[in-house]
């Protein structure tokens, strides 16, 4: 009896049809436990008034109608302005700098590539500590002392709405430029040299080569950077938290995710928090579907 059991287990080890399922098991467990189940409970809880985790009350769409308030609309607005600014910056700078870095007339290319990549290695918190100092509100802050020496007045960056967005964007731009530039650079290095040469023989200059050969050739990676920037924009939390770790009256740093954090963990309103999460899920899904469509995945069926 026991022996046949051992043989059965042994035959599983040799079985080519069963083995892949065992290989994939960790993911399947993790998928249902840490992805599928949370998404379901999130949607479920968004229709509930959560008193404790075991004591909930059905309230229908009340949490969603409560979302129609000034703070949430401002959070969506803030996340959207931030995202749009990041998209514009990330569509212009990484590809331009990569293009320049790729030109053979530049010396020390590897050094510059590494130097621009270094900010990617920092965490948002560590980088934020440095930028909090650089953009300190007081007159002796680094940027403020430059403004004053140019004859201006000190700017309380953290207190105004637009300068608040500016310092978050600067922080995120500084951290993300390097990795996006490297994406562009590695895509550019796969473009065959003959393409450039034949264009040069036709008398094209560097700028038109960049516009008509380089950019179209790396279009997939640009779409990838675009999608990633939009999603990272809407899921942004830490860039705001590191500047304003306490809530501010002007709502500076109060992004969509910060609003979830505030309602769910600080005000203990899990129902409302879940409803915001579901809205965020729909925003992210929409962006992903648009991206998949522009990659032509639905037409070709496979990537």
């Amino acid at each position: 009896m026991q022996k046949s059991g051992i043989i059965r287990i042994k035959s599983i080890f040799y079985n080519k049809n069963i083995a892949p399922y065992i290989f994939c098991l960790p993911f399947v467990i993790s998928f249902f436990l840490f992805f599928f189940y949370p998404i379901c409970t999130s949607i479920y809880m968004s229709f509930m008034k959560v008193i404790t985790l075991d004591n909930m009350e059905f309230v229908g769409l009340k949490n969603y109608s409560r979302l129609y308030n000034e703070h949430f609309l401002n959070a969506i607005k803030l996340s959207t302005i931030y995202t749009l600014s990041m998209v514009i910056l990330m569509m212009v700078f990484p590809v331009t700098i990569a293009g320049l870095l790729n030109s053979k007339s530049l010396r020390f290319r590897n050094f510059f590539r590494s130097a621009i990549f270094v900010p990617t290695l920092t965490s948002v918190i560590v980088a934020g500590i440095a930028f909090r100092m650089i953009f300190a509100d007081i007159e002796s802050g680094f940027i403020n002392s430059i403004i004053i020496s140019l004859g201006g007045k000190a700017v309380p960056f953290k207190q105004y709405y637009w300068t608040g967005i500016l310092i978050m964007v600067v922080l995120a731009f500084w951290r993300d430029l390097g990795i996006n530039m490297v994406y562009c650079l590695s895509a550019m290095q796969t473009i065959p040299e003959e393409l450039y040469e034949s264009a040069r023989i036709d008398g094209a200059n560097d700028i038109s080569i960049f516009r008509h050969i380089t950019i179209p050739s790396i279009k997939p990676i640009l779409i990838y950077i675009l999608t990633l920037t939009i999603i990272n924009g809407y899921r942004m939390f830490t860039e705001g938290y590191v500047y304003w770790n306490e809530a501010t009256p002007g709502g500076n740093g109060l992004t969509i995710v910060r609003y979830i954090y505030q309602q769910a963990f600080q005000k203990n309103d899990m129902g409302l928090g879940s409803a915001i999460g579901v809205v965020l899920l729909f925003i992210i899904l929409t962006i992903n579907l648009i991206q998949l469509k522009s990659f032509g995945l639905f037409r070709k069926g496979d990537d």
Binding site: F27, S105, L121, F131, M133, F142, V257
Partner: protein
């Protein structure tokens, strides 16, 4: 023509020197600040160049003594969670990636689509129900609570799958005929072949965990259990003066990574960008 080229490359060089200075400046500034006394930092103004006479490494000594080694336990927590996340992550994701890349089985495409879906949905959407789950599993405020939900990282599965798909598997048949089990094939033959992929994913996963913030912030409740980023952010308080340890602590959080980066630049860059390369 030649002088024109010279001018162009000269201008280009200057432009890149400026970009590099801007890229490295905040870290330099942080380091300079870490050598100042907290009061001089603000009263004396934050200038580009600090007075060398008042520089000292005292703040780095303060790290050790700060509240009975609180910072050191943050550092330790970050190290342990990073090692846990990376080791378990590599083990599980390489198994799954190999399973998806090497076998032709019925549910393969279904599971692969599931991987892609998880890859698309960021943690922020799920953090609230995940928090409740972690509470129910009684791993709140623990290393396991920080590490477990994201250990089977879809990005790494995707990467391992791509890597395995690109390898010819004809010789595996020979191993099967020699009586090797499917798991023996993976551990004895494939793992050594997948070494470069393991290298890239070690960098990606460990950096992800070392720099993570939002999830540890939610899971960790006790000050002693914080990771570095959560601990440093708890020092960001207008009303207390923790500046000495704040700046030197921030520098200590990045210096190990910078040192490793300087010696393995190419490896590091390809590791961190590996997650983004689309198949």
């Amino acid at each position: 023509m030649k002088t024109r080229n010279r001018i162009v490359s000269g201008v280009l060089l200057v432009v890149f020197i400026i970009i590099a200075v801007i890229a490295l400046f905040p870290i330099y500034y942080l380091f300079m600040a870490s050598l100042q006394k907290g009061e001089t930092m603000f009263s004396g103004g934050m200038k580009l160049f600090f007075d060398p006479a008042i520089m000292s490494f005292k703040n780095y000594a303060a790290i050790v003594t700060y509240r009975d080694g609180l910072y050191l336990s943050w550092y330790k927590n970050s190290l342990i969670t990073t090692v846990m996340y990376t080791c378990f992550g590599l083990f599980f994701t390489s198994l799954v990636g190999y399973g998806l890349g090497a076998y032709d089985f019925k549910l393969r495409n279904v599971i692969f689509v599931m991987v892609l879906i998880v890859m698309m949905i960021p943690l922020e959407v799920l953090m609230l129900p995940l928090y409740n789950l972690i509470v129910r599993l009684r791993i709140i405020d623990t290393y396991w609570g920080v590490v477990t939900p994201f250990m089977v990282a879809p990005v790494a599965i995707f990467f391992f799958r791509q890597y395995v798909s690109g390898i010819s598997k004809d010789f595996l048949e020979a191993a099967r005929i020699d009586g090797c089990t499917e798991f023996g094939i993976f551990f004895r033959i494939m793992v050594p072949i997948m070494k470069p992929a393991f290298g890239a994913m070690t960098i990606l996963l460990s950096m992800q965990q070392w720099n993570s913030f939002l999830w540890p912030l939610i899971v960790l409740r006790t000050n002693r259990n914080f990771t570095i980023n959560v601990g440093l952010s708890s020092l960001l308080n207008m009303y207390s003066s923790n500046y000495e340890i704040l700046f030197s602590g921030a520098i200590c959080a990045i210096v190990p990574i910078l040192v490793i980066f300087v010696f393995n630049q190419q490896f590091f860059i390809s590791g961190l960008t590996a997650g983004g390369i689309k198949g």
